[in-house]
């Protein structure tokens, strides 16, 4: 029992230390962000390798998520003769939860791991030390542009995911199941709120998720042990920690934005 308590105490201590050091790292990144934005070409290229390279994955996933949502909802709604509400059902579940969360989780797996292993390998092969010896701060030159690119890419990917998912739902609902096209859109338009469901949910959530995943990914990469094993462990930690962070932040944001104050 005593042993268990002590173990929990140390785990809690480790957790606090981790949160503290990642916050300090975030401040460091934010301080260099304005100057990094001036060298937009580097950021632009990173948006390509982080965001544009994830585009196909996000689009295909979005399509299937939208289609399966429509299929499931249809079979429930048809029992109540309420298939006119299909558009609403699909749009709300995509915009409020599935869109931001699924995009964030996919991004963590696709681009977050790539960021961590790339920076970790640069650490392991002394490329970061080499840069420091050439009087170039690797945080500014390597880490910050990747962080910005990740934080920018996730909101964009989320919007693309949501749009494709709704179109996928439309295809299954209207074209395959024969739901009335007018009802599909008009019911959706009545029930989906621009502020609550697009700005607060899709936009704010995806910006927060993007920042969190990118921060965790570059942090784990930058502080990974400079060995092959260290890099692979850091990559695993990126997936685990950023997925947990996304789910926890999702709850927090939902509680704060929609049910708080």
């Amino acid at each position: 029992m005593r042993f268990l308590l002590r173990e929990i105490y140390y785990i809690a201590l480790d957790f606090l230390q981790g949160v503290g050091s990642i916050c300090l790292f975030l401040f460091r990144l934010l301080r260099y962000t304005p100057t990094a934005l001036l060298r937009w070409r580097i950021v632009w290229q990173q948006i390509y390798s982080v965001g544009a390279m994830s585009l196909v994955l996000i689009m295909v996933s979005g399509l299937f998520v939208g289609m399966v949502m429509a299929l499931e909802s249809y079979h429930v709604l048809v029992k109540f003769a309420a298939t006119a509400a299909l558009g609403t059902g699909v749009a709300l579940s995509i915009l409020r939860e599935l869109g931001p969360v699924v995009t964030a989780l996919l991004f963590a797996g696709r681009a977050g791991t790539a960021l961590t292993s790339e920076i970790g390998l640069m650490r392991a092969t002394e490329q970061l030390a080499g840069m420091e010896m050439m009087a170039v701060d690797p945080v500014r030159r390597i880490v910050v542009p990747r962080f910005i690119a990740g934080a920018v890419s996730v909101p964009l990917l989320t919007m693309i995911f949501c749009a494709i998912a709704i179109l996928g739902g439309y295809y299954v609902g209207v074209d395959l199941m024969g739901v009335d096209q007018g009802a599909f859109w008009s019911q959706m338009r009545v029930n989906v709120d621009l502020v609550d469901d697009i700005l607060k949910s899709v936009v704010i959530k995806s910006i927060v998720f993007g920042g969190a995943i990118s921060l965790i990914a570059v942090y784990e990469g930058y502080y990974s042990l400079p060995t092959a094993e260290g890099v692979s462990r850091a990559t695993t930690r990126t997936v685990v920690n950023s997925s947990l962070a996304v789910l926890a932040l999702d709850y927090l944001l939902t509680a704060l934005l929609f049910h708080g104050a």
């Binding site: 390998l121 092969t125 002394e126 490329q127 030390a129 080499g130 050439m134 009087a135």
Partner: protein, 275 residues
């Protein structure tokens, strides 16, 4: 010791009373080192004596626990990060594995410091890069990726990158390790030629006695955190100290015993108290 004779001369690096420990292990204990300007100075010693750490102390990558480190008349420990980076623009550093950027071509690797620190137009950058690559004999490899280079070539590209900004001091971390005899000869020659033609001060960390002796003007022998011997390769060759003789000649047994400290052999075999 011989160091004091150099006090009045023009030293690029001056280290006095350096103490540095990692955990409980003292890496350096009141170490004194001076690097004369315009010369090739080697720092030799067995593996694990902190030779590379000494380079990192000189370049400000590692801060000493105690003692003074002066580089180009500046106290490394007192510099702000910006001042340190300014100082590093006058330094070239050749990493053991080259540390080339794996995602960029040879050309872009050499161009990197120029692009970061100068606002030269593209055609001038091209001239400088080709000139540096020509100096190491790899102008023809400009469009290769680092993965396509042999170990020796990668080190030469790294050397071209290290001299891209025309530094005053160049540090070589184990430049001869893991090379075939031809590449080794090329590097030895490059170190000498670059030092003399560019007016550099070169500092080599190595344990390859033969190559170092053929290229260096002076050598420090370091062991157990202290300077054991200092002098020209000639002087070290004829040094009377048993330890120096063992190191220079590469003898298996001597003051540095062949056996790692262990309990009595017979006693351990008979005792069987532990594996």
């Amino acid at each position: 010791m011989a160091i004091h004779d150099l006090k009045h001369s023009d030293n690029v690096v001056e280290i006095t009373g350096l103490k540095y420990r990692v955990g409980n292990k003292a890496i350096f204990d009141r170490l004194n080192v001076s690097i004369p300007r315009g010369k090739i100075t080697a720092i030799m010693g067995p593996s694990g004596t902190g030779k590379t750490t000494l380079l990192r102390v000189m370049t400000g990558q590692v801060l000493a626990d105690r003692g003074r480190v002066w580089v180009e008349g500046k106290n490394i420990a007192r510099l702000s990060i910006d001042e340190l980076y300014d100082l590093r623009k006058q330094m070239g550093f050749l990493f053991q594995n080259g540390a080339l950027f794996t995602d960029n071509t040879v050309y872009e690797n050499v161009a990197f410091p120029l692009r970061e620190h100068t606002k030269l137009p593209e055609n001038l950058i091209r001239h400088v890069v080709l000139m540096k690559l020509q100096a190491v004999g790899l102008r023809g490899a400009a469009n290769l990726m680092p993965a396509e280079l042999s170990g020796g070539m990668a080190r030469r590209v790294a050397l071209a990158r290290a001299i891209a900004l025309d530094p005053k001091i160049i540090f070589y971390d184990e430049p001869f390790t893991g090379l075939d005899p031809i590449s080794m000869g090329v590097i030895v020659r490059l170190i000498r030629v670059l030092n003399d033609s560019l007016g550099l001060t070169s500092i080599i960390v190595s344990h390859d006695v033969e190559e170092v002796s053929s290229v260096s003007d002076h050598s420090y022998l370091i062991s157990d955190g202290k300077v054991v011997a200092y002098g020209t390769p000639e002087e070290l060759e004829h040094n009377k100290s048993a330890w120096v003789r063992q190191f220079m000649k590469g003898l298996a047994d001597g003051p540095v015993p062949f056996h790692y400290p262990a309990p009595d052999y017979a006693g351990q075999l008979l005792g069987e108290e532990q594996a």
